[in-house]
């Protein structure tokens, strides 16, 4: 029994079958129930944990259909259009779903009907109904009016008006009901009766295409799982080829017998349907998992879905071997795919240039697979040495420097406890901060110098602030190292 604080008292939020037999109902206060049964076991309800458990169940049910939605606080809605025959018919599918949920440790009631609202009403008020196509209305007529799940006042008003079942309501003209109880009631009624249909909003977007395997016996060996994945990859590649497309993002879902679902996302740098390359990516991804894929008591099912696809342009092999460029481009894209599968999307990066004079913002990095565009890096005049350092410290490193003249480059500076004597310098190059970005607390203007010490190390250092500005003493920083 779970209790929750509501209106200043601990009230029953959820109870099990044995508590229900004692006559306890949801909404009673805990003290009230204690008078009935002094030694009741009660714990505090945790709505968030409930929602997470429901979410886990939803992930698990995704093995039956990709379209799963969470229905209110304690229900799941599965769109099984076109899926039932794969599991031996609707009755078998219903049985299997309930069995799965039971293995997670929950009791459930389920129903199959033509519309989501009808299914919800049957599941809650007429357990385990399977309504054949066109039968929704006849069956729904027997449901009590509480099946409408309206506000308490509406339900009371309806029962006072003498309505007991939905059948009673359905006989009345809907305009009268709408005038008295609002449009919402009529719409709900129409939906439960199967006269109006809506689509559910699934938890996950419907994949572009997918292939799956359900195993009659749980699969315990990783090798056989890889074998199954190989067949799935072939199926998917075939499906993609028929569509003239290649996948950019793939998702492999592995359903374990105990209800755990593992998802592996595989992203490629180029749309692909190459079976061998894809299979290699899947293997790399499995190897690279921080939390290894543990068969436990076995895998029930495995699914491979393409969540993003793009048209593939096939390159014609030229007689003069011009298609080689495309080949090496594919090879590079495949290399990036493999690196991403093994090291993660965030760790494989490329440079991206931005049109700004701020040295830090002008060249950043972004994951290789992101679609951010880049500007070209400005070219230097011929004959001039590199103007920007090879590496940049972020944030810049504070150094102690001694300058000969206030506006000149330093003579000496100390960085990481080593004294550098400057033998050559060029500057200053004044870079003002982008005040429109920083707001009122814009950093001071920086005067950059390219300096070289007696050993030949080249540094990019700057002075923050100006000597004329008497309020703050200028500080020196080392910002980068030249090659």
């Amino acid at each position: 029994m779970l209790v929750e604080k509501e209106q200043g008292a601990l009230r029953i939020a959820a109870l099990d079958a044995s508590a229900a037999r004692l006559g306890i109902t949801i909404g009673m206060t805990l003290t009230e129930t204690r008078t009935l049964m002094p030694n009741l076991a009660a714990a505090e309800a945790n709505r968030q944990a409930d929602a997470e458990a429901l979410r886990t169940c939803a992930e698990l049910c995704a093995m039956f259909t990709p379209l799963v939605a969470i229905d209110r606080m304690d229900g799941l809605m599965l769109d099984i259009t076109g899926c039932a025959h794969l599991f031996g018919g609707e009755a078998a599918l219903l049985q299997r779903t309930r069995h799965k949920i039971a293995r997670m440790g929950f009791t459930s009631s389920a129903a199959i009907a033509g519309t989501p609202d009808a299914a919800r009403a049957f599941a809650r008020f007429a357990r385990n109904t399977i309504s054949a196509p066109g039968q929704d209305e006849a069956l729904a007529h027997t449901l009590p009016i509480t099946a409408l799940a309206q506000e308490h006042n509406t339900t009371v008003a309806l029962s006072r008006a003498g309505f007991r079942t939905l059948g009673d309501l359905a006989k009345r003209p809907s305009s009268l009901l709408a005038a008295r109880f609002g449009e919402g009631l009529v719409v709900t009624l129409q939906r439960i009766l199967g006269r109006e249909d809506i689509r559910i909003t699934p938890l996950r977007a419907l994949p572009e295409c997918m292939a799956e395997r359900h195993f009659p016996e749980p699969l315990v060996l990783m090798d056989s799982l890889l074998g199954a994945l190989e067949r799935l990859v072939q199926d998917i590649a075939g499906a993609l080829e028929r569509r003239g497309e290649g996948g950019r993002v793939f998702e492999a879902s592995v359903f374990r017998t105990d209800g755990t679902v593992r998802r592996l996302e595989i992203e490629t740098a180029q749309a692909t349907r190459n079976t061998a390359a894809l299979l290699r990516l899947v293997e790399l991804k499995i190897e690279a998992l921080a939390d290894p894929l543990d068969p436990g008591f076995g895998f029930d099912a495995v699914r491979l879905a393409v969540t993003r696809s793009e048209p593939v342009h096939t390159h014609q092999q030229m007689l003069d071997g011009k298609a080689q460029d495309a080949d090496s481009e594919t090879a590079i894209a495949e290399l990036i795919g493999r690196l991403v599968a093994r090291f993660g999307r965030e760790d494989v990066r490329r440079f991206v240039g931005r049109d700004t004079h701020d040295p830090v913002r002008s060249s950043g990095t972004t994951p290789s697979l992101s679609a951010i565009g880049s500007v070209l890096w400005p070219a230097l005049e011929a004959g001039s040495p590199p103007a920007r350092p090879l590496t940049l410290f972020e944030p810049p490193q504070l150094i102690e420097a001694i300058a000969e003249v206030p506006d000149g480059p330093p003579l000496l500076f100390r960085w990481r406890r080593i004294l550098h004597e400057i033998s050559g310098a060029e500057g200053p190059e004044r870079i003002a901060p982008e005040w429109w970005r920083e707001g009122s607390r814009a950093p001071a203007t920086r005067d950059y110098y390219r300096v070289e010490d007696a050993d030949g190390h080249r540094f990019w250092i700057f002075r923050e602030g100006l000597y004329e500005d008497s309020n703050t003493r200028p500080r020196w920083f080392l910002h980068g190292l030249f090659a």
Binding site: R342, V348, S362, L369, P378, A379, P386, G456, F482, A483
Partner: protein
């Protein structure tokens, strides 16, 4: 889709491309060839940027414009800063033609480098890690050099703050930054590097080179020691004492044949 363009900057002159390729004929440069693994060691942390620049410069002359994979240990960002695309562009390479891999540890850096070395469409692989690395053993280096041989992709392994460990690399260099030829008003010039060959297959150990990288020509120039540019004193930190005491100084004559370039002074 993002394609990795050629590593040459678009504005590279055709003559530069030729110069870059013809450089491979020079005797000393043939030491740093394709289909081989090269190790660049630095003793001081600030030389790591120099070693990176030097590897990039070699890459630029070897890649024939193909993309480059740069694998970098996480610790490098803290020690010598993050790679800066404008700086790479200023050395004459196109940053858009680079794939960067941030490795969490030496193990994954080596795995990534191996993956890259097997991909013959790459121009070069640069792998950089910090400090002593037990994962980089003979087996790991053998894998890398075999992959480089099979695919023809040169692998540059940059190590800072580490003692040279036994490996199967074709060449091993010690790299220092060298004072550049100062320009008017004592402005630093093109980057120069002092390289010492610590180990080579063909037994040219001890060879010392002062190289200047010219972005415009996309080629190295050998600088004469004690030239009037104000530089000439050998780098303060010289090669470790374990080296053979045979010093080779190279006085460069552009028209000379490679064999004439090396005037040996046994000391």
């Amino acid at each position: 889709m993002i394609t990795h363009r050629a590593i040459w900057r678009q504005d590279a002159p055709d003559t530069a491309r030729e110069a870059g390729e013809s450089c491979a004929d020079k005797a000393w440069l043939s030491l740093v060839g394709r289909a081989a693994m090269h190790e660049f060691y630095t003793t001081r942390q600030i030389d790591a940027a120099g070693a990176g620049g030097c590897a990039l410069a070699f890459t630029c002359s070897l890649t024939q414009g193909r993309p480059l994979l740069w694998v970098r240990h996480d610790a490098m960002d803290r020690e010598v800063g993050t790679l800066h695309a404008s700086g790479i562009s200023d050395l004459g390479l196109d940053p858009a033609g680079m794939i960067l891999l941030r490795a969490r540890n030496t193990q994954s850096a080596l795995q990534a480098a191996l993956e890259g070395a097997r991909c013959s469409s790459l121009g070069a692989v640069i792998v950089e890690f910090w400090g002593e690395a037990s994962a980089y053993d003979l087996t790991a280096s053998r894998r890398l050099s075999l992959a480089a041989k099979a695919s023809g992709v040169p692998v540059f392994l940059l190590r800072s703050a580490a003692r040279p460990a036994p490996s199967t690399a074709d060449t091993r260099w010690q790299v220092h930054a060298a004072p550049s030829g100062l320009r008017a008003a004592r402005a630093p010039g093109d980057p120069r590097f002092a390289l010492t060959l610590l180990r080579a297959r063909n037994g040219q150990e001890g060879l010392s080179l002062y190289l200047e990288w010219s972005r415009d020509a996309r080629a190295f120039r050998i600088c004469e020691a004690n030239a009037a540019t104000g530089f000439g004193a050998p780098p303060r930190r010289t090669a470790p004492a374990s080296l053979p005491r045979r010093l080779v100084s190279v006085s460069f004559d552009r028209s000379g044949t490679p064999s004439a370039l090396l005037r040996q002074r046994i000391g």
